[in-house]
């Protein structure tokens, strides 16, 4: 547990970061920011953000870049991607819809938005395996994208009316005469409060409040005849409560802000520590003060001393999607990029099937990402990107040319370049030495550089972020 003895320590931890001789704004911090708040970034972005300082770098992550990595203006890119996703959903092919999102994440001008969309997808986990309707899944994803940085109260309310979620948690069987508690239980346990902050009776009463919510013709519909309009008592509030009023009651609970603060801590700071509740209190307070506007709290976290502290680096394991998308973005394998369908299939094999989380609790993350089979898949994916014969993933990267573009020409330079680009941070020096020890100086230049990169990508350190 990351313990905080005094309230002042917690306040100091979340105080705004300002570069200092002890904590300078250096390449390691820029790379850390992009790994955590987006995916990885190309070298040109790292250099620019290093030069322009943390405020400008974080502003750009919050508001997005003006152009996507394929050169399209941001608004045009988003429209194109919305269309691509809608077409993919209409085709009925899950793999196509997954690959449309992977493609979007690779080229997005707004990596933080995509990261938050993915975060809410894991938070309000809904699987097409049960919903069996990609249009509804696609609409839910669009909801997370549009509301992901907005008002959590509104998001929670929308999720309660979202057809995919209603089908996934059996709302169509939640009727006045026979309430189904699935949604009511998960909305408290997994979506807003966490275990221990509600009673079994609260779940039963909330289930009554959510009765009468149906999906008809792929649309949300409230059927008054199936709604229980009697008096209910939930978390100390009594009245003729319905789904909307329950959302208000939940969000007003002190536990709700603490619960979300813990989830955001795991997203941005560390998934290996169990933070002291006192450390999270300033984040929870910020959420309440901001009326649950998520962007305000995300900004607070990204600008905090704790986020930029050396000790926060390397405290998370890359998820399969982060690994795939981040590596492609950092190595600038963009035109053409590796086959999105193949990347999506690889992510599924590594344990992250987009739109098909394992259960309603989403992906557990952390060390759960790694096992014998997934480690092999990770290595295969990364080596595929470096391959000169793999039609789907490889034959696109010219590592020598990329290094030369940024004026890293000779062998020592290229090794430095790729170590900095890919693992800048606490493991950089050790990994660079390891790569140097195993270098193959007699190989042709292209093979030598590829071998160096393969050592970096398949090192255990690269799996951390």
């Amino acid at each position: 547990m990351r313990s905080v003895r005094r309230r002042e320590d917690a306040v100091a931890a979340w105080a705004p970061y300002a570069p200092s001789p002890e904590q300078p704004w250096n390449l390691a911090r820029v790379a850390h920011l992009h790994r955590r708040a987006g995916f990885q970034a190309p070298w040109s972005v790292l250099e620019r953000d290093l030069a322009e300082g943390p405020e400008a770098a974080i502003d750009r992550l919050i508001h997005g870049e003006p152009t996507a990595l394929d050169g399209q203006p941001a608004a045009q890119f988003e429209r194109t991607m919305d269309l691509l996703s809608a077409e993919s959903a209409a085709s009925g092919s899950l793999s196509r819809l997954q690959s449309a999102w992977i493609y979007r994440m690779i080229l997005t001008p707004n990596p933080l938005r995509e990261r938050m969309t993915r975060f809410w997808h894991g938070h309000f986990a809904t699987s097409n395996t049960k919903v069996n309707n990609l249009k509804l899944i696609h609409r839910q994803s669009a909801l997370f994208r549009s509301h992901g940085m907005g008002d959590f109260r509104e998001l929670l309310s929308e999720v309660g009316r979202d057809p995919a979620m209603l089908i996934f948690l059996d709302s169509p069987t939640n009727r006045k005469a026979h309430p189904n508690e699935n949604y009511a239980r998960e909305v408290m346990e997994l979506f807003s409060l966490g275990r221990g902050n509600y009673s079994e009776q609260d779940v039963k009463e909330a289930a009554r409040a959510f009765t009468g919510r149906f999906v008809q013709g792929d649309r949300f519909r409230e059927v008054a005849a199936q709604h229980d309009g009697e008096i209910k008592q939930i978390l100390g509030k009594e009245g003729v409560l319905n789904g909307e009023t329950v959302v208000g009651i939940l969000v007003d609970q002190p536990a709700c802000a603490r619960f979300l603060a813990h989830k955001l801590y795991r997203l941005f700071i560390s998934e290996f520590d169990d933070p002291d509740p006192a450390l999270l209190e300033p984040v929870a307070s910020n959420l309440r003060a901001a009326n649950y506007r998520i962007q305000t709290t995300v900004e607070m976290i990204l600008r905090s001393r704790l986020f930029h502290d050396n000790a926060s680096q390397g405290r998370k394991l890359r998820s399969p999607v982060e690994l795939a998308v981040g590596t492609v973005r950092a190595l600038e394998i963009l035109d053409p990029c590796p086959s999105p369908e193949t990347l999506a299939a690889a992510c599924t094999r590594m344990g992250e099937a987009l739109y098909a989380p394992p259960n309603v609790a989403g992906w557990p993350g952390g060390t759960e990402w790694i096992n014998t089979a997934s480690s092999l898949e990770r290595a295969n994916l990364l080596l595929g990107l470096l391959s000169k014969s793999d039609d789907k993933l490889g034959r696109r990267l010219n590592p020598e040319a990329l290094a030369k573009r940024y004026s890293f020409a000779n062998p020592g330079d290229t090794r430095n370049f790729y170590t900095q680009l890919l693992v800048e941070g606490p493991f950089q020096d050790g990994l660079r030495s390891a790569v140097e020890r195993q270098a193959q100086p007699d190989s042709q230049e292209d093979d030598r550089v590829r071998f160096d990169i393969s050592l970096i990508l398949t090192a255990p350190e690269y799996q951390l972020t």
């Binding site: 394929d70 809608a86 077409e87 196509r96 069996n132 249009k135 609409r139 013709g217 792929d218 696109r396």
Partner: protein, 597 residues
């Protein structure tokens, strides 16, 4: 200059051959066949290079080829650049241009014999034999200069054998001018052996092989190229125990019949290419192994009446007729299918009975079917589709031949169709998929049953409708045919066509005395397929992006290239004809925008 950085004798001449074949006049020659053994795996001859000229002039293939990613990448290959430089240098030393030199040196054609993996013999026939030796001398001089410049040893050796001067180059091959032709091999020993055979021709050779002679005898006067392969030898190149094992291939077997055995066991395959200003024709001939002839697979060969001409309805993309007597096949199934396949068919036997009032599958169901199986793929009325699906699929209609004397069977087929829709709806209910509404209508006096998906009442703006709205499965009994279609629109058109047959749809005649009888006939329309690509262009671009990772611009480029290729072709026809001892494949393309005859 990096030219000739390593000895590359053989690669020096290949581009000359390629370029030269384009602009040349015909000279027939098959001397090589007299020196080669009868079991030579593959021999290919470009007999009339000039005959390929229409491909460039009338068919305008060059710009399309240039846009092909594989060709672009090959053209950017530095090795090819080096060879091009070499050709230019040799041409300059002979005071001519590379294209003119190519015509002089290889304009009369070329023959390539492949004797094994990495073993070949190439004969290049010049239009100007007097230019061969000077060109060869100039090329060798260039090579030696380059080697000297790079301080590399001169690995090119010249020696005499059977009175012929041979130039060999380390590890990569040998060449000689023989009878005013250039002979190239990848082995000095093989070249010497060929010269020995030239001096003392063997009693048995490829030229004396009856099947090879038959192919040569069948060549059209205007054939641009031909080939002959000993398939048993070619298969041996990549022989592996796994490849030799027959898999469970029920579907393929029932569809392809004995052709499957030909691919696996056929001994010889020969063919010729005929290029004309407005058409392109490929004719191939494959021998049937003795153990296939007169065996149980004979049931796959028509003996009297073959496949009829494919049915043509408006906006047909592809239409095919397959001759199959499934009842006869059922009788002998145990002789050509494995135990797993037979088990599956036994299950089908009992399952299918439920759909056909308890009839015996072999005699009662298959026995009531005819042998002309037709399939039509045609555009639907896309404008009438409500809602409009994101991707527009054409409709597919299967026209199942029915015994006209078994009236009750036709009713059973209609009933089976309705049962199938009901079962599909049961499955849909379990998977929460939308149901098909069953209805019927009269078309030309025929009752057509159809299932349709109900359009959503409150569709979301800008959200394309599901692809399932392309489907409106339909079935109708029209005389002695049951029409089973994926689209009601296409089913209607097929019904009208069957009720009012055009003269080209006449029943096939008895062909008992014909040498070979057509078993499969296919007709396709380039413009109609191009129309489908154009309608779905955005979807195809998106799929290309997601499958290959291309940018939208690059993906659009690939789809446009496909459109250009389709635009060249007006119609394509293919037919497979079966004879007891051979199978013939005829493939014919008509050029689009050709002047009307």
């Amino acid at each position: 200059m990096l030219l000739f950085s390593r000895p590359r004798g053989s690669s020096l001449f290949c581009p000359i051959v390629l370029v030269a074949t384009i602009f040349s006049r015909p000279v027939a020659a098959d001397e090589l066949a007299r020196w080669l053994p009868a079991d030579t795996p593959l021999i290919v001859e470009l007999a009339r290079p000039a005959a390929l000229q229409p491909l460039l002039e009338n068919w305008n293939l060059l710009p399309i080829l240039r846009d092909l990613p594989q060709v672009r990448s090959a053209l950017e290959n530095p090795d090819l650049g080096n060879v091009r430089l070499a050709v230019e240098a040799v041409a300059a030393s002979l005071n001519t241009t590379p294209l003119a030199l190519a015509d002089e040196l290889a304009g009369a054609g070329a023959t390539l014999a492949v004797e094994g993996p990495q073993k070949y013999v190439l004969v290049v026939r010049p239009n100007r034999p007097d230019r061969l030796q000077p060109a060869l001398d100039a090329a060798l001089k260039l090579v030696r200069q380059e080697l000297a410049k790079q301080n590399l040893p001169d690995s090119y050796v010249t020696q005499e054998h059977q009175g012929v001067s041979i130039t060999s180059f380390a590890q990569t091959g040998a060449l000689a001018i023989v009878d005013h032709q250039l002979l190239v091999t990848n082995s000095l020993d093989r070249l010497k052996a060929l010269l020995d055979l030239r001096a003392n021709p063997p009693a048995e050779s490829l030229a004396g092989d009856a099947r090879f002679a038959k192919l040569k005898g069948s060549l059209a006067d205007n054939a641009a190229a031909w080939f002959y392969a000993r398939l048993d030898k070619v298969r041996a190149f990549n022989a592996s125990p796994e490849a030799a094992k027959p898999g469970d291939e029920t579907g393929g077997r029932l569809l392809l019949g004995r052709w499957l055995d030909l691919v696996q066991k056929g001994e010889t395959l020969g063919g010729q290419l005929i290029v004309q200003a407005d058409s392109l024709e490929l004719k191939a001939l494959m021998s049937v192994p003795a153990d296939v002839q007169n065996g149980p697979l004979e049931v796959f060969r028509p003996h009297t009446v073959g496949a009829s001409l494919p049915i043509q309805i408006p906006q047909t993309l592809l239409s095919a007729t397959l001759w199959r007597d499934f009842s006869a096949m059922w009788e002998v199934r145990e002789q050509f299918l494995g135990p797993e396949a037979l088990k599956g068919l036994a299950q089908l036997d009992s399952f299918a009975g439920q759909f056909f009032g308890g009839r015996d599958f072999g005699t009662g169901v298959l026995g009531s079917l005819g042998d002309q199986w037709r399939i039509v793929i045609a555009h639907q009325d896309y404008d009438a589709q409500k809602p409009a699906p994101g991707t527009r699929y054409p409709g597919v209609a299967l026209i199942i031949p029915v015994d006209p004397e078994d009236e009750e069977f036709g009713v059973r087929l209609q009933s089976a169709f309705q049962t199938f829709i009901g079962l599909a709806n049961l499955g849909a209910a379990q998977s929460k998929s939308p149901p098909l509404m069953l209805g019927s209508e009269q078309v030309e006096g025929v009752t057509m049953f159809r299932g349709t998906f109900v359009p959503p009442k409150n569709a979301v703006k800008d959200e394309p409708a599901d692809d399932r709205f392309n489907l409106s499965p339909s079935g109708a009994l029209v005389g002695n045919a049951f029409v089973l279609a994926s689209s009601a629109d296409v089913a209607r058109t097929v019904i009208r066509s069957l009720k009012n047959p055009s003269p080209t749809q006449a029943e096939p005649t008895d062909q008992t005395k014909a040498e070979a009888i057509p078993t499969l006939r296919i007709a396709a329309s380039g413009p109609e397929i191009a129309k489908l690509v154009a309608i779905n262009k955005e979807t195809l671009v998106s799929r290309n992006v997601l499958e290959k990772g291309n940018s939208r611009q690059a993906a659009a480029g690939e789809i446009e290239l496909l459109e250009k290729l389709l635009a060249i072709v007006k119609t394509a026809h293919a037919e497979i004809l079966d004879a007891p001892d051979e199978v013939r494949l005829n493939f014919h393309l008509d050029r689009a925008n050709a002047p009307t005859k």
